[in-house]
Symmetry: C2
Subunit: 148 residues, 2 copies
Amino acid sequence: MEATVKLEISDAEWEVMRIVWTLGESNSRQITEILADKMGWKSATVKTLLGRLVKKQALTTRKEGNAFIYTPLVAEQDAMDSATRALFGHLCQMKVGQTLADLIDNLTLSKENIADLQAQLADKAKTAPETVACDCLPDGCDAMKQEA
Amino acid sequence: MEATVKLEISDAEWEVMRIVWTLGESNSRQITEILADKMGWKSATVKTLLGRLVKKQALTTRKEGNAFIYTPLVAEQDAMDSATRALFGHLCQMKVGQTLADLIDNLTLSKENIADLQAQLADKAKTAPETVACDCLPDGCDAMKQEA
DNA sequence: AAAACGCGATTACAAGTGTAAACTTTAGTC
DNA sequence: GACTAAAGTTTACACTTGTAATCGCGTTTT
């Protein structure tokens, strides 16, 4: 049983992580250059974010000369999965299906992605329930409507 | 062109919204009862959240006797869609396919949901690109790897 | 060696969030 | 009409987040 430490990566921090994840490792100069360009951030801002990410243990450092080299301590896919599961976890379960549909409408997926999803859905259909109930209220949800 | 006002609903506020969305409208006593139970919140906490939601224009009120009746000003599905689009919007586009797959693994979908998604995907496949590139770095992404 | 520059660390500071207590107003009750 | 209970309003307070400036130190340059 993994004692998964809940890692909260903020939006701004996420931008930093994406770069380190993609590069595998990087130093603050390189990260700063990219984010100065992409986000218009000052180097001080990036330094703050890097510091917070190290404190949060999302990144680790290794000294190289006068500077640090930053490496991810969490896998990008894991972070993406927790973030999405956290979000969907507090949405009305009855409406996640539609939300997923609306989301997919806005995403660009490759043919391969789509094929994989189709296979996955075909399999999932075998054990899928007929309906999914709303879980927003203690009782059944549709109950007590407009009791106010 | 709708001037869509960016509505930021926090996690705690979301819990309140779910109840009002589901009931259609409600008063603070009813909401407090449910959340005292589900979240362990004091009535003062719920009052604060209701106040913030009214100020943010996520809810509106109508006086009834000594109390207010709260009604949503934003549709639940719209709020869910913005929240999910906002999240996926800052994830690596190359990895959203896998993320979606991992997410679906964790969701309960009805047979109908699945059928709808399958139809949607079949249609989307027609115009899908062969691959989706990573958009985490300015250049091509896989470029400059390990330059540090 | 002195000066300048790059890097990490410390400090800043307002806005948003979670969580609530205290105060005030209002609507019934005796 | 005075009192009380419930609902709304104000105040509180620590933590997170976005966005930096500044400080101190080691390294590079003149």
